[in-house]
């Protein structure tokens, strides 16, 4: 469990981090909480030659009320998201989903931005922010741009982030009293979900995000369309796997994943409506 040799530089601001990324290009990786990157490096599945540590860029750790949404700094640790009174009031689905990430040690080190930028479809937060219609703020050498969560994920562990860009803020619309549910199905509490469902409903509106059901987080828009047009929860949930393209692994066959997505979506919608 010894990583390949690498250089280490510490950035003291987002601007410095972006500048360093520009300097080192594809050779560099950002180090935030390290709970995705370091294990890959120890197994030598990732061998960056430079780590740019942004762990001490403290001005990217915040949770702010921004009117119709809550703005979360990318370096906010999971434990702060999970326990934030503002998020518990305005975006309880995100706070609750975050409480299912890894284990307490992971949640005290890992960051929301690190989890989203890693773009692992099996992680809880990409699908959750997708279901919530979040917007990500991305900062690069030429300033900032906003990317909808639904446009951010390109493939397995791949996002629209350029090599010299940094995810700096996550903007999550307030839920305004919507019912919600987070269903995480796994065999051990600290594991990634075999299948997970993040769902909210408010009247005829809804959002359903699926964890680990494709190479990217999946928005189950067929379910929301069916609900909007008056389908029952059971009928809508039966469409849950329609946008999905799951893989088989040691925990689940393709068929089982599809089945779980339908069952868990039904349970999530029932709980959200409850």
């Amino acid at each position: 469990m010894i990583p390949a040799a690498f250089d280490y530089v510490r950035a003291s601001s987002a601007e410095e981090a972006i500048s360093l990324l520009g300097q080192y290009g594809d050779e560099a990786k950002l180090l935030a909480g390290g709970h995705s990157l370091i294990p890959l490096m120890k197994l030598r599945l990732a061998q960056p030659t430079v780590l740019v540590d942004i762990g001490r860029v403290s001005d990217l750790s915040y949770i702010r009320d921004a009117g119709d949404h809550v703005a979360i700094g990318a370096l906010t640790r999971h434990m702060d998201v999970e326990t934030s009174p503002m998020l518990l009031e305005h975006v309880p689905l995100l706070a609750h989903a975050t409480s299912h990430v890894g284990d307490p040690q992971v949640r005290h080190r890992g960051t929301i931005g690190g989890s989203l930028a890693h773009a692992d479809p099996a992680s809880d937060l990409p699908a959750t922010t997708l279901a919530l219609g979040a917007t990500y703020v991305v900062t690069g050498p030429n300033g900032t741009r906003e990317v909808a969560a639904s446009d951010f994920y390109q493939g397995y562990l791949t996002s629209v982030l350029a090599a010299d860009e940094l995810l700096t803020e996550i903007r999550v619309p307030k839920m305004n009293g919507a019912g919600w549910s987070f269903q995480k199905f796994n065999r051990r509490a600290q594991d990634w979900a075999i299948v997970g469902v993040a769902a909210w409903t408010r009247g005829s509106e809804s959002g359903v995000g699926l964890v680990n059901m494709a190479s990217v987080p999946v928005l189950a828009s067929s379910v929301s369309s069916a609900l909007a047009s008056g389908s029952s929860i059971a009928d809508a949930a039966a469409l849950a796997a329609d946008e999905a393209d799951p893989q088989a692994d040691l925990n689940a066959s393709v068929e089982y994943r599809q089945h779980l997505a339908r069952v868990l979506t039904r349970r999530a919608l029932s709980e959200a409506a409850g």
Binding site: M1, I2, A4, A5, L43, D103, F185, R187, R188, A189, Q190, D191, I194, L250, N251, A252, S253, E255, Y256, H259, L260, V263, L264
Partner: protein, 795 residues
């Protein structure tokens, strides 16, 4: 809830473990913690192929890297070994045992098989150099499936010409043909096939080795995270051609083993060989993925079991056919593991002499298997306990009732079984009754009837396991009859120091069990002193030269009893001295509370402390008596010990997702008298969770090319505390009559009992859906698929 008639005093008290403060504060020193300046670091180059010819090994680039001292291929070191890696259990005369060297020379036979190694000044330099060693392989077809291996379609080891290692038969019949006749006449018969999946032991502390050459004279000290320093010393000496007396083996703090550290490994031999060759210390610490690939695996059997029963459900015949998965090579006791289970296939039940057992073991291109917590006995117990549930289903009676009809009656103990082995003591109905009361068996059956209605998606299941364990390994003559390459005795020395502090030297080698606490309690009880005044010395062959180490739940029933016997010898000698000084007849002296007194004259007394000092000064000892108060015992047990109990698991299966939730788990264990019930509970808790893990979580998964797909703890699902239920423990106490402490052993009981209890519960939950068996681990996906198949559909 405990039924106990134990003596009051130190023995039987829930004393906190003296080992724990150092372990919990991180002060305990494990092998990898030992600071040795100048030690070189060993790193292994391992085969990425399950079976491949080694065409060439190019070390040129690696050896020039910074900090690298040397790089060796298997061929480079072939002359270093005086013998191959040891297998101490040639179970049959004609057993096939392919050559197994610490570094493979011409062919790699599993993913992880070492083919070259590096020593370097730092672990980082060694690791980097591993990547620079260029090995050219010619991949060969790998054999993964046991029945495919049996067919010899592809023969793994050319030198033995077959994949069969051995066939071992045990047929016990009153008259020839009795077993076949029993099946012919059976009112009920069941025939089942069970698969014991491979398990990865995953001890908390990985393996670690440090070999330190001593400054003068060629002596070598080998530190290793091992369960068996004494066995390791003998085997290392033989394999390397080192005079045994020049080798000292020390097991520092060892963080669990579960059998996986009951072995002699390539890295141990390499560290010693290279430390000798280079004249400097050499060390190695395993990574977790190496632990998954290159430390032995457990289980790995296909079991075919048939039960014959009369109209009342009483067993009349038993037939077992096993295929054992040896993996690529035979490790220390690999071939013997199925034999350890052979005697337990009838469990706690009366069986006439109509028993027909045969095991054929085969080589495969996977990590070698060997003893893993229970070693053969969990497999046997699983088969009989699952088959008893099948038989109950066949007859249409409650599984508990069927068991009761077959229990060996309490009044028949000591009981000579069909195998000729004598079970020391038992009260199977007592344990079952207590467990049923504690779990609320009748109410649960009632709840099950009302809940498991057609269409129900949450179904209750109740699983029983009424287990037997054969432990206290072992009478040496019995081991001889099984061709085991060592005895089963244990050694103890008790030394009362001049100030009445006591040193105990034991040949057992604890690696988490709490021997220091338990052994000090035995001595304290025996000598009437405080446990705090007892120091327990162990796990260093220079301090404890005689011993056969710790495995097979043997330490208390053999090693602990040896200590008690030695204390008696100390008291006998002290009595002679005290009588001499008190001018009394030794027979008139009473010894209690650490003091000798003359019967009827309470004013004439002498504490053991005074006797100890007199023994030390030797100023006034009886004529001819040697100074000092010390005694030694090497104890060969007259019998195995036979712990037993009843575990009951209650589950709720979600038929929509296939998920199993354990609602309640009750473990009633009878391990005879308990030295420290707190330690007993700890062993039961850990054992139950490990057994439950086999049932629901764990499996070493290989693909058809022989790649291990579960080589990290992200894929190999060792459950954490949050994933498992609380374990409710209860005990009955049926002392063993074969040793003076009345103890039996409890290290493996939980693992043996739990696996069938859990699976029986899962199958019971689904029996109304037509499910009769669920393979292990009963993962949600597997259970969901089984339900679909039983319902005649697939989704």
């Amino acid at each position: 809830m405990t039924m106990t008639d134990q003596p009051t005093g130190v023995l039987g008290s829930r004393m906190l473990r003296r080992e724990d403060p150092a372990l919990l504060t991180g002060e305990a020193r494990y092998t990898a913690d030992l600071v040795v300046p100048g030690a070189l670091h060993l790193a292994m180059v391992r085969s990425p192929y399950a079976r491949a010819r080694i065409v060439s090994v190019d070390t040129a680039a690696a050896v020039t890297m910074p900090g690298v001292r040397a790089v060796y291929s298997g061929a480079d070191l072939a002359d270093t070994w005086a013998g191959p890696m040891p297998c101490a259990w040639p179970v049959t005369e004609d057993m096939k045992n392919p050559t197994h060297l610490p570094l493979a020379v011409s062919q790699a036979n599993y993913v992880g098989d070492a083919v070259a190694c590096v020593i370097a000044e730092t672990a980082e330099a060694a690791r980097d150099a591993v990547e620079a060693v260029v090995v050219e392989y010619e991949p060969l077809e790998a054999v993964i499936d046991l029945e495919d291996a049996l067919s010899d379609r592809v023969v793994i080891h050319d030198e033995i010409g077959t994949n069969r290692s051995y066939t071992w038969d045990l047929k016990i019949e009153e008259t020839e043909g009795a077993c076949d006749a029993a099946f012919a006449a059976a009112a009920y018969a069941v025939k089942e096939r069970y698969i014991q999946q491979r398990l990865i032991p995953a001890a908390m502390e990985p393996r670690a080795v440090l070999a330190v050459p001593q400054p003068f004279g060629g002596d070598m000290t080998l530190y290793s995270a091992t369960q068996v320093p004494h066995i390791l010393k003998v085997m290392t000496a033989l394999t390397l051609g080192i005079p045994e007396h020049q080798l000292r083996v020390i097991a520092p703090a060892v963080g669990g083993g579960f059998g996986s550290k009951l072995n002699v490994y390539a890295e141990e031999l390499l560290c010693v060989a290279l430390a000798k060759r280079h004249g400097v210390p050499v060390r190695w610490t395993e990574t977790r993925s190496e632990g998954c690939q290159a430390t032995i695996h457990g289980r790995g059997q296909i079991q075919d079991i048939e039960l014959a029963a009369d109209a009342n459900g009483r067993l009349t015949g038993l037939r077992v056919r096993l295929i054992g998965d040896m993996g690529a090579y035979l490790q220390l006791v690999t071939p013997g593991v199925p034999l350890l289970g052979a005697f337990l296939y009838a469990g706690v039940y009366e069986l006439p002499k109509a028993f027909d057992f045969s095991c054929t073991s085969v080589f495969t291109n996977m990590t070698p298997t060997d003893a893993y917590r229970g070693a053969g006995r969990p497999e046997a117990t699983y088969a009989i306990e699952r088959a008893m549930d099948s038989l109950a289903y066949e007859i249409g009676i409650d599984p508990l009732e069927l068991r009761r009809r077959n229990f060996i009656p309490t009044e028949k103990f000591p009981y000579e079984a069909y195998t000729g082995l004598v079970y020391d003591s038992g009260n199977h109905d007592g344990a079952a009754t207590l467990a049923a009361e504690m779990v609320g068996y009748d109410e649960l059956r009632e709840r099950q009837r009302s809940q498991n209605v057609p269409g129900a998606t949450k179904r209750i299941g109740i699983g029983l396991s009424t287990y037997f364990e054969m432990c206290g390994l072992a009478p040496s003559r019995v081991l001889a009859s099984l061709n085991y390459g060592a005895g089963g005795w244990e050694a103890a020395t008790v030394r009362v120091l001049p100030t009445n502090k006591v040193q105990v030297v034991t040949g057992t080698s604890p690696h988490g069990q709490g021997h220091e606490t338990a052994w000090s309690m035995i001595v304290a009880e025996k000598l009437g002193i405080s446990p705090d005044d007892v120091d327990v010395l162990h796990s260093d062959t220079a301090i404890a030269p005689l011993g056969l180490d710790t495995y097979g739940s043997r330490s208390l029933a053999v090693g602990g009893v040896a200590i008690a016997m030695t204390c008696d010898k100390v008291v006998d000698k002290a009595r002679q001295i005290a009588a001499h000084l008190l001018e009394a007849n030794p027979d008139d002296l009473e010894f209690a509370g650490g003091e000798f007194s003359v019967a009827g004259s309470p004013d004439r007394s002498m504490p053991l402390a005074a006797v100890a000092f007199e023994a030390f000064t030797a100023h006034n000892l009886p004529d001819g008596m040697e100074p000092n108060l010390e005694a030694h015992t090497t104890y060969d047990p007259p019998n195995f010990s036979w712990p037993f109990g009843t575990h009951i698991c209650v589950v709720e299966v979600d038929t929509e997702t296939g998920e199993t939730e354990v609602l309640r788990y009750v473990a009633v264990d009878d391990c005879g008298n308990q030295v420290n019930p707190l330690i007993v509970d700890g062993q039961v808790h850990g054992g139950v969770i490990q057994g439950l893990a086999q049932a629901l979580f764990e499996e070493a998964v290989y693909d058809s090319d022989g790649n291990l797909r579960t080589s990290t703890l992200a894929e190999y699902l060792v459950p954490a505390a949050s994933d498992v239920p609380p374990v409710i423990t209860g005990h009955t106490v049926t002392p063993s009559p074969t040793n003076q402490l009345g103890v039996k052993g409890v290290g493996e009981a939980g693992t043996i009992a739990a696996t069938p209890a859990v699976i029986n519960a899962v199958v019971d939950a689904l029996s109304g859906l037509g499910v009769r068996n669920v393979p292990m681990p009963a993962s949600p996906n597997t259970v969901w698929s089984i339900i679909n198949a039983a319902q005649g559909g697939s989704q």
